[in-house]
């Protein structure tokens, strides 16, 4: 009996200790929402502007994820640029220097394909190296925990902003990389690189059919549905005066995974019968490669998402300048008939003033997710909005609410030209960047830091007790899909 009592006393003491310990590292974290600072403990001394995050999830084993940001190789100017790897569902992350780019990428997105059954992640990445000239590498590793550098499958110069999506069809991986390809003739630069053999070969397909001012906007965004439907959204730039692009928001579609001889021709606009549905025409998109929205630049934020269970339902979101005193305003539209017709005004709750980094995703039960970052009252506020009725009613949670004036910008983009959201089972998972000041008030859903941080004094340390300046860090999050 006595030993039984001692056992319970010890258990209670252990539980109390665990509670205290947990409080140190998972401050305020609710049991269902996870927000994690990606910087590992062993890099607690870093002060880089780790902006422009991206995320890939191994859908067959969602414990495996890869994230990226403008994070340099932590030890070497000639070593490979790294990615963050988690093998425990995002609770912990390590930095693994495996991209083909030296030191740091100047654009990186990626997706984990699942057709070839590589249990620790068949990662396909599109990276830009910016040493004198801009070079695109499309590369692959079949094991994200391996320290072997990714193998380059395709490379070329004179392109911008690769954006990678992947889809498994039977046992093969289809890879789609949206790029602004200045090698395309006649200024039809909006391009999707299509591979239907796991990246072994790529075919570059211009998806612009109309006259441009000489090129399209930087963002070309593919989205793939499980029924082999592939959409892509882009900004068709019709005029440009150096400060403002007059642009159409265009959506193209292919019903056979982009594998045919003349892909992405399925949607034609009734106004001119050319491929590419004009969701909106002639919007004014400010182009400013200088701090304009707080310390952030603006000019090309665009997202498209398709319902994974119903390839007919697709959402597109973008930002432009409305002219009502706004700097940059987000909009979301929806099509329920495979992109043939679109809502003729913004969906409810989706005209959002002075915001950027729009990212859309749709869960398998049809719930739509909308991630964005808004400049409000001198703070960057990161929202995740969910709706199961095309945003007529919404759940809006704030993941981060941080001062917009600190830290000072080291380069542009300050937070990123994009962030990312995707759906995995009954979760929305994503990444955003924000000030890493360890202040619980800045993270209303709670937060976990791997790096050394003191939330009582709101200071970072290098792991040896020395103070470290605040900087921009990438944050991973997981939020349950609303019932």
């Amino acid at each position: 009996m006595k030993s039984f009592a001692v056992f319970w006393m010890r258990l209670l003491a252990l539980a109390a200790l665990a509670l205290m310990f947990g409080t140190l590292f998972m401050l305020g974290q609710s049991s269902s929402i996870k927000v994690v600072n990606l910087i590992p403990a062993s890099l607690s001394g870093e002060t880089n502007q780790d902006s422009e995050p991206f995320l890939a999830v191994q859908t067959a084993n969602p414990q495996v994820m890869v994230a990226s940001a403008f994070t340099p190789n932590p030890v070497s100017s000639t070593g490979n640029a790294p990615v963050y790897v988690s093998q425990d569902g995002g609770s912990s992350w390590v930095l693994n220097a495996i991209t083909p780019v030296q030191r740091m990428t100047c654009d990186i997105t990626h997706a984990i394909a699942t057709g070839e059954n590589h249990p620790r992640g068949d990662l396909h990445a599109g990276t830009l190296a910016c040493v004198a000239s801009v070079t695109l590498d499309e590369s692959e590793t079949t094991d994200v925990s391996s320290s072997t550098a990714m193998s380059v499958q395709s490379t070329r110069s004179n392109v911008d902003q690769p954006f990678v999506r992947a889809l498994a069809i039977s046992n093969s991986d289809h890879i789609y990389v949206g790029v602004n390809d200045f090698n395309q003739p006649n200024g039809h630069t909006a391009t999707v690189d299509v591979s239907v053999d796991g990246g072994a070969t790529y075919k570059s397909v211009s998806v612009e059919a109309r006259n441009t001012m000489g090129q399209d906007g930087p963002s070309i965004r593919p989205a793939v549905a499980s029924d082999n439907t592939v959409y892509a959204a882009f900004f068709g730039w019709r005029k440009f005066d150096g400060k403002t692009a007059t642009s159409d928001v265009v959506v193209v579609r292919d019903d056979a995974g982009g594998a045919g001889s003349n892909p992405f021709q399925a949607l034609k606009d009734p106004s001119d019968n050319l491929p590419g549905r004009l969701v909106v025409q002639g919007v004014s998109i400010p182009w400013s490669n200088a701090p304009t929205l707080g310390q952030e630049r603006i000019g090309s934020t665009l997202s498209i998402a398709v319902d994974p269970s119903n390839g007919s339902t697709v959402y597109v979101g973008w930002a432009d300048r409305v002219g009502n005193g706004d700097i940059y305003t987000l909009h979301v539209r929806r099509s329920a008939d495979r992109g043939v017709t679109w809502s003729n005004s913004d969906l409810p709750h989706t005209t959002i003033k002075d915001a950027t980094n729009i990212a859309l995703a749709v869960a398998s039960d049809g719930v739509a997710g909308l991630l964005y970052q808004q400049l409000a009252s001198g703070r960057w506020v990161t929202h995740l909005v969910q709706s199961r009725n095309a945003f007529a009613t919404i759940q809006d949670i704030i993941l981060a609410n941080v001062p917009a004036n600190a830290p000072a910008e080291q380069f542009l983009p300050y937070l990123g030209d994009y962030d990312y959201l995707l759906s995995v089972g009954n979760e929305f998972r994503g990444v955003f960047c924000a000030s890493n000041m360890p202040d619980l008030a800045n993270f209303p859903q709670g937060v976990t830091y791997q790096r050394a941080a003191n939330f009582s004094t709101k200071t970072l340390t290098d792991g040896s007790g020395n103070p470290v300046a605040i900087s921009i860090d990438p944050f991973y999050f997981s939020v349950p899909v609303i019932p």
Binding site: P40, A41, S42, L43, S44, G45, E46, T47, N48, F70, N73, P74, V75, S76, G79, V85, Q87, S92, W93, V94, L95, N96, A97, M104, C106, D107, L128, C130, A132, S133, V134, S145, S146, S147, N158, D160, Q161, N180, F182, Q215, P218, W237, F240, A245, W287, N289, R297, G299, S300, E409, Q410, F411, L412, P413, D417, Q450, A452, D462, G463, S464
Partner: protein, 275 residues
């Protein structure tokens, strides 16, 4: 791999480590092997080549990396048979995996004969290592000088935006990575490397963009002085510039460290003389 004599000469008696290894190493520490065929934290793939080393002193590391005396580090070694539990050595390594701990790859190591305390653990050895680092830094500066077409000390007299002409080999594109070229007119005070330049003036192109692609490139302001390591412009697409009504070769100065403050001029001259 060649022996880098100046660095090697700075090492104490018995040193076998080659200068190139010292130069390449990004994390250097003295430590004691505590486990063989093991790793110090999850996420590092364990193999016969991974050992765990307790850090006795840190000689070199980037400031971002958290590493201190008493930490356990995973080292992927080249030859596991060279180590046993208790071996004390100085490890010359490169970063590998950074998570809750540090994992590194061995580039080279030194074991003190007799298994005594590792060479670099004491202050004399640390001074020796610091001297070696200075010599390596000098070598990097020599390399920079060697790769430059011109090395000049001078002062910027004018800065203005420059638009890429339509005839340029690299046409202007609207991207977030566009360099937003600017031209600086450089009044040469002394030419440290290269032939004499007409009227002692040159045009230096540099990116005005704050984009990540150009984050580490030097940017110039009027009246700025210093040492400029210049290459003929092969980046902007237009190799010449207008200066005083004439077409002259344009130069670039794009890498971090391609501009140094005037206080470094004596060091640069000294390295040029030793060449």
């Amino acid at each position: 791999m060649t022996l880098f004599t100046p660095a090697a000469a700075a090492l104490p008696q018995g040193t076998q480590i080659q200068g190139a290894v010292v130069r390449q190493a990004t994390i250097v520490f003295a430590g004691t092997v505590s486990q063989l065929g093991a790793t110090s934290f999850a996420d590092v793939p364990k193999s016969a080549h991974t050992i765990v080393v307790r850090v006795d002193s840190v000689l070199k590391k980037p400031s971002a990396v958290s590493l201190k005396k008493g930490d356990s580090v995973t080292v992927e070694v080249k030859d596991p048979s060279a180590f046993h539990e208790g071996t004390q050595a100085t490890f010359y390594t490169d970063g590998w995996i950074f998570g809750s701990g540090v994992a590194v790859r061995e580039l080279g190591h030194e074991v003190k004969p007799g298994g005594g305390k590792a060479r670099a653990g004491g202050s004399a050895a640390e001074r020796s290592f610091a001297q070696m680092q200075q010599q390596i830094s000098d070598q990097e500066l020599r390399d920079r000088i060697a790769s430059a077409d011109f090395v000049v000390a001078g002062r910027i007299t004018d800065v203005h935006p420059w638009k890429v002409p339509k005839s340029a080999a690299v046409p202007y594109r609207v991207t977030e990575h566009s360099p937003d070229w600017h031209e600086a007119v450089l009044q040469i005070q002394s030419t440290l490397k290269g032939a004499k330049v007409k009227k002692n003036r040159m045009v230096v192109r540099f990116p005005g963009s704050r984009d990540v692609a150009w984050a580490n490139s030097p940017r110039f302001e009027k009246h700025q002085q210093g040492i400029f390591f210049l290459k003929k412009d092969q980046v902007s697409g237009a190799p010449t510039a207008e200066l005083g009504g004439s077409q002259v070769d344009a130069y670039t100065c794009l890498r971090q460290g391609d501009w140094l403050p005037m206080g470094e001029v004596a060091r640069v001259r000294s390295l040029l003389k030793k060449k």
